[in-house]
Symmetry: C2
Subunit: 371 residues, 2 copies
Amino acid sequence: MGVVKARHYDLGVLELESGEKLEDVRIAYETYGGLNKEGTNAILICHSLSGDAHAAGKHRRNSRKHGWYDVAVGPGKTFDTRKYFIVCSNVVGGCKGSTGPSSTNPETGRPYGLDFPIVTVRDMVRAQRKLLDHLGVKKLFAVAGGSLGGMQALQWSLEYPGYVHSVIAIATAAKQYPMGIAFHEIGRQAIQKDPRWKGGDYYGSSRPADGLALARQVGHITYLSQDTLERKFNRNRKNEKPRKKFGVEFEIQSYLQYKGNSFVRRFDANSYLYITHAIDQFDLTEGGAKSLRDAFKDVKSRFLLVSFTSDWLYPPEQVEEIYEGLAEAGAPTTYRKLDLPYGHDAFLVYNNTLGNVLVGFIEREEREYGS
Amino acid sequence: MGVVKARHYDLGVLELESGEKLEDVRIAYETYGGLNKEGTNAILICHSLSGDAHAAGKHRRNSRKHGWYDVAVGPGKTFDTRKYFIVCSNVVGGCKGSTGPSSTNPETGRPYGLDFPIVTVRDMVRAQRKLLDHLGVKKLFAVAGGSLGGMQALQWSLEYPGYVHSVIAIATAAKQYPMGIAFHEIGRQAIQKDPRWKGGDYYGSSRPADGLALARQVGHITYLSQDTLERKFNRNRKNEKPRKKFGVEFEIQSYLQYKGNSFVRRFDANSYLYITHAIDQFDLTEGGAKSLRDAFKDVKSRFLLVSFTSDWLYPPEQVEEIYEGLAEAGAPTTYRKLDLPYGHDAFLVYNNTLGNVLVGFIEREEREYGS
């Protein structure tokens, strides 16, 4: 993609699902490729828990850091910028340029902290819609995402039925199941019990790095599968003896600590609380009040669902549950269960198996969309 | 079992696998039933991570609290005290009466804390052997345990081949795999990052309750299966609204917090470090230097192995790996994979399916042992 520009859009007031109004909302975003005259060739890519708007390219010519989905977004790539206008934005509640708990509260002139209102996946989607309207997008060719990104993609099809031609939802679920809630709960407690968290009011002093690092490490275990852990780490020991009792002896320990520590440098602990909370609240059946068939009854999109056999955070049965709901609601849906050994993270690990499935769906939908 | 007595044995010096010598070692234990004249009717029950020597009965007549395996140990029960002399002891390194990091270091007159030496599963077994010698046991009819208890049972068959007629190892593994290490690592970090931990030197001041509670909660998630979590908790919400943001909204959150907090009242954080470390070090193949067939080549015991389909801490494949090693080594082994919905904890949840398998094995081995 070459050098790309980080942009933002000040959308004003966002009415939240909670009924609260969030003022002065800024959404960070990037775009790749050009919008056609009709405003109909856009693809929205939704990021997952720790992602951001920087999906492709790099911010400076001599930077080595590419966007998180650079393997799949660009000229001639799966999400082909020669044909499509690709948009990616940071979720509201995040800490990568969009308004979130680390942003300044206009009422106080200080960071929100826990005064930031509760946000939901629907709020994230509504903010994205305002951005797309601002950019002149009349209709989305596709909305795509994995994990939390997949939840957003599904929510899009319910929220704006006529606006979304196709939905690509990977390694995700129609509702967050209790195991996912449980692991998030561990992470949130680790953050809130870190003495540096101070009720969320830590901006300007040292941050709750221990708690956030621990939360991230728990997350990383759930992103890998038992198989991946064995293949990658097995019981391999570090060459050095640990300097102290209960120090690092195995490679898996060192991997987790590295992942935890590097996350702390790039993510805000309060955003971690708000976004994991939004995921845990996600439930298209609204606490069982609706069947999935009912939830999907007004969708007009066409769907691609992908699961991974080695994903135990959102295992195939949870994706198949979406598939059944869509089938019962009569929505045209392709479902693929891929036997990849990367665990939940497979949606981020670009490979031909997933690539071919995506390209196949996009090419077919191009014909469908054009006709 | 009625009222039983907590006992202890001061075994003197224990030479540890590390080469260090641990002085003034006390082992807490209980016995149920009587030893025969020949000293050959004993069954040793090995407890798991958070267990203790109090397997059956109660300590006071009007107590409501029974031992952790009371359902299975007693007159006419699976481990029948009318026939067998049942012994259960607290592991060395523990905090339930046996010498561990919270015990007084005879050199300093203060609690060991992290000056306590590293202990291994083999050290636990060697201490048990000294206890059994002291009690006059000449040969074990059986050694039985689940999880860490199963590791001890397997280690017994290697350490004292002629001494153990039969081994019952449930929901366990021949080595700790990286996912188990990873979850233990989270728990150990949570403890060590708790400011009250103070490098392990917290005795006499407030204890690292937050860290230990978090460690236990991570453990509890791994003891349940995705299925059990769904059946037990699903997305059920608490009746009350949370009093604060990110408070308890779902029953699973409240369950975990309850489990974490109640554990803190009965367990020592440093013992949690030492015992999880012993589990993580456990590897009968010694880092792949041996095959399991080689590891088991001198065993003389007969084995019962049990796995549970819903156990993802020690899933069936890990138990089947033991089975294959034993089969290749020519050891008579019965393996049963039970389709029970309780996750790893199934070894503690008494039920007819597991009960019948245990009774069947014990009855057959009674005839074998007698002949």
